[in-house]
């Protein structure tokens, strides 16, 4: 069983489009995260939710909006996609904010 899963694995889209990436965890964790890994493999946190409440909101354009319908899901919606949004987006989860984070397989987003 996959602990943290993401869909889709690959996403290719045109500039200006709106897209969503979904994340689900079956670990029973209370905390979920979104990270962005750029072309230089630099991994940076974007958001964190704890019990469906937004806890961490880094300096990310307003075009990015996380949504947590329940503790097991954290989706990422991106409006008006730009070329610079091309990256690999990783979802992660942990029991609490200071516990080990378990990562999903990533979603490679390509904006043309």
């Amino acid at each position: 069983d996959t602990a943290v899963s993401q869909t889709p694995k690959y996403l290719v889209t045109q500039m200006g489009n709106d897209k969503s990436i979904k994340c689900e965890q079956n670990l029973g964790h209370d905390t979920m995260y979104w990270y962005k890994q750029d072309s230089k493999k630099f991994l940076k946190i974007m958001f964190s939710y704890n019990n469906k409440e937004l806890i961490i909101n880094e300096t990310v354009p307003n075009r990015f909006s996380p949504k947590s319908p329940d503790k097991a899901h954290l989706n990422l919606h991106i409006n008006s996609l730009e070329l610079g949004d091309s990256a690999v987006y990783f979802c992660a989860s942990s029991r609490g904010l200071t516990d080990t984070q378990y990562f999903g397989p990533g979603t490679r987003l390509t904006v043309l």
């Binding site: 943290v4 493999k41 991994l43 806890i55 200071t98 990562f103």
Partner: protein
């Protein structure tokens, strides 16, 4: 805010040789420390972690790391590298409190190449 430096961007070793990947961190107190491994096209897998206690921690796949407070380091070691260890390795630091509470900061990664 915390920061992590992995001084080596790329390391090449021969199969069977020993390995040490360096990681230095900056944080005002004792942080949480992690090593993750990423194979091409894959997500990040946790190798080991340090929260407190014994400064020498054992992980999966025969890896170990030693927390040295005086040097602000958390270097990853393996006595004998296998070809399957070729991947990218990330050191990460987490803050147990303060304004960075809950944030995991990653180093820039070290790519490991293993020669047969």
């Amino acid at each position: 805010a915390q920061s992590v430096t992995q001084p080596d961007i790329h390391i090449t070793v021969s199969e069977g040789a020993s390995l040490e990947l360096r990681c230095n961190y900056s944080y005002g107190a004792t942080p949480y420390l992690f090593w993750y491994v990423q194979s091409p096209g894959q997500g990040l897998q946790l190798l080991l972690k340090y929260f407190s206690g014994d400064t020498l921690v054992q992980g999966i796949k025969g890896f170990e790391a030693e927390f040295k407070r005086s040097q602000s380091s958390f270097n990853l070691r393996k006595p004998s590298v296998h070809w399957s260890d070729a991947a990218e390795y990330f050191c990460a630091v987490g803050a147990p409190g303060g304004t960075s509470y809950g944030k995991l900061t990653f180093g820039q990664g070290t790519i490991l190449t293993v020669h047969p």
